[in-house]
Amino acid sequence: MRRIVPIGPYHPLQEEPEFFKLIVEGEKVVDLEINIGYNHRGHEFISPTLTWDQVTFLVERICGICSDSHPYAYVLAVEDCAHVEPPPRAQYIRTIIGELERIHSHYLWLGLAGHFIGYNTVWMWVWRYREPLLDIFELIMGNRNHYAINKIGGARRDILPEDYPKIEKYLDLLEKKNAMFTKAILDDPVIKARLEDVGVLTKEDAIAYGVLGPTARGSGYAIDVRKDDPYDAYDKVDWDMVFFEEGDVLAKAKVRLIECDESIKIVRQCLKTMPDGPFETRVDDIPPGEGIGRHEAPRGEVFHYVRSDGSNMPVRHKVRAPSFMNIVSNIVAVRGYSIADAALVLAAVDPCYCCTERTLVYEGGKKRYTGQDLLKLSWEKTEKIRRRYRR
């Protein structure tokens, strides 16, 4: 017998409000319907009513967690349209902020993933070492989030040389702790049993659905804008692309963990080799034409397309966030797994916990599961596995 388990309209584990309709047979999920649009704010409509510089601040508000990635892709698009090359120092500054943001975003995910499978220790520890990073952001840019570092033709702020040691000190700490997390998480048999072979997205599906970022790289689909289409300082530093073949939740977690190490590597090299000089150029007008900007955000490639008619406002501005492509792939990734796994699989793409309490499951008009119950289901499964290993 088929039943419907609705999750949403505020998804428990994901940032955006979205509605997942799990179609289940007993415990097994057989199909998934996705409904989004609860948070449609019409950025593409507002953007042509603002000037080129104002749009940078508008797109910064698209995402709260990776608030650097959209303005980054946007300024790259406008620079592509106007054929402007930012000064070298600005390129390094942008790269450093982009990478620091990746670390903070991956740590946010890691902490939440730990919470969902009942490892609250992971959650607490990971977030403890994420906190000093937000202080670094505040130190450099005055804000813990919404950094406003990007500007058409450069960066809005400089990273002062006296702040370098503070960043490096944090990176030293983080490198040690990241190695500890990687070891703790990958060596734990219970976590392995809980995450391995869950929510497998095959490489064929990954290509067909056009998924991006860690979701793609966890499925052996090795795409990374920083390597494929290097921009700013990414081709001037030495780093490796991380990818795994398995396609399950564990592979996605591994990609994110090891990617943090690569990010540390990139930031260190950038700090060491950052040239002196101006960090912005003056861009007076944007000639008619079109431009494309792509930036590898923590969740995948952010794509911005702008068209100019030579005036002070864009004619058309297209924004494509990575989740737009990644969420659709849940339809194939979640099929055949239990409800306890589904919460985790849906979160493997990208999570946020702000709205869990709004998750209700109705059967015949009667409330059955709340968000807490979903978590409990997941925790119980982990506990079962844990007990099995104890024996």
Binding site: E44, G210, K318
Partner: protein
């Protein structure tokens, strides 16, 4: 890994589809103009034979009609091939790519509701982003909508 646009790929494209016009904006950004009837075959060729990834499609309401740009990414070379086609405003129809490329499913649903383009052969062409109560004949990214709702900002003020 070879970087930048490849002359070979462009030669192959123009040998197979002689009617296309190619404009190279920068080494990694190429714009290709093609007629509406050929888009499906061209997309099929790029996806199945060349292994390009459909990144996104942009719809733009212009003076000559509604323009659709399919942004295809060639990840090995880091190049974007942007397939442009213009469809007249009195006949907003084009063949859907959704069955060929699952990635096009949501992309086309979004364009359908925001620009009113009819994708023939799409399995489930229902609104994606707009509210359930939003009128089906109102397309927010069309010029006429923008002109009618110019004062949308001032209206909000109490």
């Amino acid at each position: 890994m070879k970087k930048g646009y490849s002359k070979k790929i462009l030669e192959e494209i123009s040998a197979k589809f002689p009617e296309v016009s190619v404009k190279i904006h920068s080494p990694r950004r190429t714009y290709i103009r093609i007629s509406r009837e050929k888009v499906y075959d061209f997309a099929k060729y790029l996806f199945e034979e060349k292994g390009f990834r459909l990144s996104i499609a942009t719809g733009i309401d212009t003076r000559d009609g509604v323009e659709i740009i399919y942004h295809f990414s060639h990840d090995e070379a880091g190049t974007y091939y942007n397939i442009k086609t213009v469809i007249p405003k009195d006949d907003l129809k084009i063949r859907s790519l959704a069955l060929l490329l699952p990635a096009a499913n949501w992309i086309e649903r979004e364009m359908h509701e925001l620009l009113g383009i009819d994708f023939i052969g799409h399995p489930n062409l229902i609104p994606l982003l707009t509210a359930e109560t939003w009128p089906a004949d109102l397309h927010p990214l069309r010029r006429d909508y923008a002109n009618e709702h110019k004062d949308i900002k001032t209206k909000k003020k109490p």
